[in-house]
Amino acid sequence: MSAVALRGVRFAYGEGAFALDLPEWTVAVGSRVGVVGPSGCGKSTLLGLISGTLTPDAGTVQVGGAALHDMSERARRAWRLRHVGFVFQDFPLVDYLDVLDNVLLPFRLDATLALDDAARARGVALLDELGLGAYRSRSPFHLSQGERQRVAIARALVTQPSIVLADEPTTGLDAARADDVMALLDALVRDRGTTLVMVTHDLRMQDRFDAVLTLGVRP
């Protein structure tokens, strides 16, 4: 079974506006896939379709066996919290929560995710694994940019998602730091057998992916 399967997908931001067309695209379970292309080609739109924040005008979107195109918005939100981990470009954290609470934040947003001892233990273990075990009670204010990135990555993985969607996490980083972030993500998803779909226009990263989807701007 594919981790992601899009068939005959079409999405447009209004009449005559930009459109994303994907006749067929699949991602194997546990693979690391890059989505590249120039600005405005629809990379983030594709992540929106995979995560269920956007619904296609036409076609089907299957992720981890769930038919997102058939689900209500409420069902997609609940599914997203349970099955999708997000890594955003600017690694945003909630400043009034400490590091561990930031990692456990997904559990506080929906009643279907139980914030039990196992979840807390998982959060602590992730922070330990990322070298942030001593920082769990710290405010994000006191973290370096690299430490904030690792906290955001731990948050994406704490719910044990079947797929991690990363939206240009290395943009704006120097080469060394971008390599660090990529290596970290790579290792974490590989160890857990998690599928990774990463949008990037950093061509240096292409060698790290099992497959690359290149999107172009429609004429």
Partner: protein
């Protein structure tokens, strides 16, 4: 949907992380809630106490004139009356057997507290009990109210001097030392702030009843075989002791001595109606039903209170506008956080619950502060206003 305990947790963390903003919001909202609530509470408290005192006083007799002054002086020991009624009027009312007749003479103070000249019947008519000591029995003895006793640390055996009213009038009455015979149990009314004495004691303070050293021809300015008029050099007693008591005497007849008011506690409704009917045709004195007078006063107070309520509403509206502005700015400042939560999977309802819970906690804290403060302030001021 987000569980309430998680929303409360996030609210607590957010509010404590922004403690300064939270405190400003809570205090601002609490003040806005407190002011109109306190005005209303204080109004109700004052109305309740004024009315209960008035209802406990069926008939009040005084010289014809301002009935408001008469009620304030005789029931609440505030202000004073211009004209007095002679003691003979009280004797006349007593002779008509309407019920219990209690004379009042309220003109002087001791340590700032009103000295209420009355008779021992006052204690039973007002259902007053003693916390310490006994009732006054002789000239110069006093029973002090609970608040007066507490403020001046007075108890049986102590003494308090009446306040001088004529410091530069050497021919006038002198302050009189009052011996404390007893202390009233707290009543929650004006008696707590009063000093009760026999009416003759207040006449002594007035100078109508006095004691002095024996007058010899040497001290007199006019002397005949039958009469002597003492000069101002004669020594006037300012304390009534067993030794000086026999020298206290009156000039004139007690029937002419002044009372500021007379309370009547009728034995039944018929006696009440009879007394009011008789007093209605009296051209010199007036008989009033204090409850009617107090209601007339309260009508004025209620109008003022309505004006204050309008002011309170304006304060609430302006404060809510201020709180709304702060919250909208706060939401804009938290746009990144809200965007993050939305992208992670939180719906609009979840975001609304998170922000609403914060607002609810602020509102609850403000309400607790406002209404808790209102209760405490009402208790404190209720005691302070002494009605």
């Amino acid at each position: 949907m987000i569980p309430l305990r998680h929303a409360l947790y996030l609210a607590r963390r957010s509010l404590s992380a922004n403690a300064g903003r939270t405190i400003v919001l809570v205090i601002g909202l609490a003040v806005a809630l407190f002011l109109p609530a306190f005005t209303a509470t204080l109004g109700q408290l004052a109305q309740g106490r004024l009315l209960s005192r008035a209802e406990a006083t069926p008939i009040l007799v005084g010289h014809a004139g301002n009935e408001f002054d008469l009620v304030m002086s005789s029931l609440f020991f505030r202000g004073g009356v211009r004209d007095t009624v002679p003691f003979a009027e009280a004797e006349t009312l007593q002779a008509k057997r309407y019920g219990v007749v209690v004379p009042l003479f309220v003109r002087y103070t001791a340590g700032g507290a009103p000295v209420v000249g009355t008779s021992v019947e006052y204690f039973d008519a007002r259902h007053l009990t003693l916390a310490k000591g006994r009732r006054f029995a002789t000239l110069g003895e006093a029973v002090v109210g609970a608040s007066v006793a507490r403020a001046a640390n007075l108890g049986p055996g102590d003494a308090i001097r009446t306040d001088a009213t004529n410091l530069y009038d050497l021919s006038g009455a002198y302050p009189l030392l009052l011996r404390v015979a007893g202390v009233l149990a707290p009543t929650g009314g004006p008696d707590d702030d009063a000093i009760l004495v026999d009416v003759k004691t207040t006449w002594a303070v007035e100078g109508l009843l006095h004691g002095h050293a024996p007058v010899t021809k040497k001290d007199s300015v006019v002397a005949t075989d039958e009469n002597m008029e003492a000069s101002l050099s004669i020594f006037m007693f300012t304390e009534i002791t067993p030794e000086s008591l026999p020298t206290f005497h009156l000039h004139g007849t007690s029937a002419d001595w002044p009372l500021t008011g007379v309370l009547i506690f009728p034995k039944d409704d018929r006696a009440r109606d009879q007394a009011l009917g008789d007093l209605a045709v009296d051209t010199v004195n007036q008989g009033v039903r204090p409850v009617a007078v107090v209601r007339a006063i309260l009508d004025v107070v209620l109008r003022v209170q309505e004006l204050l309520a309008v002011g309170g509403v304006l304060v609430v509206v302006s404060t809510l506008a201020f709180v709304g502005l702060v919250l909208s700015l706060s939401v804009r400042l938290r746009r990144d956080e809200i965007t993050l939560l939305r992208r992670m999977g939180a719906g609009r309802g979840t975001i609304a619950v998170i922000l609403g819970t914060e607002l609810g906690v602020i509102a609850l804290a403000s309400a607790l502060l406002a209404f808790g403060g209102n209760g405490a302030a009402a208790r404190a001021l209720g005691w302070w206003i002494g009605i």
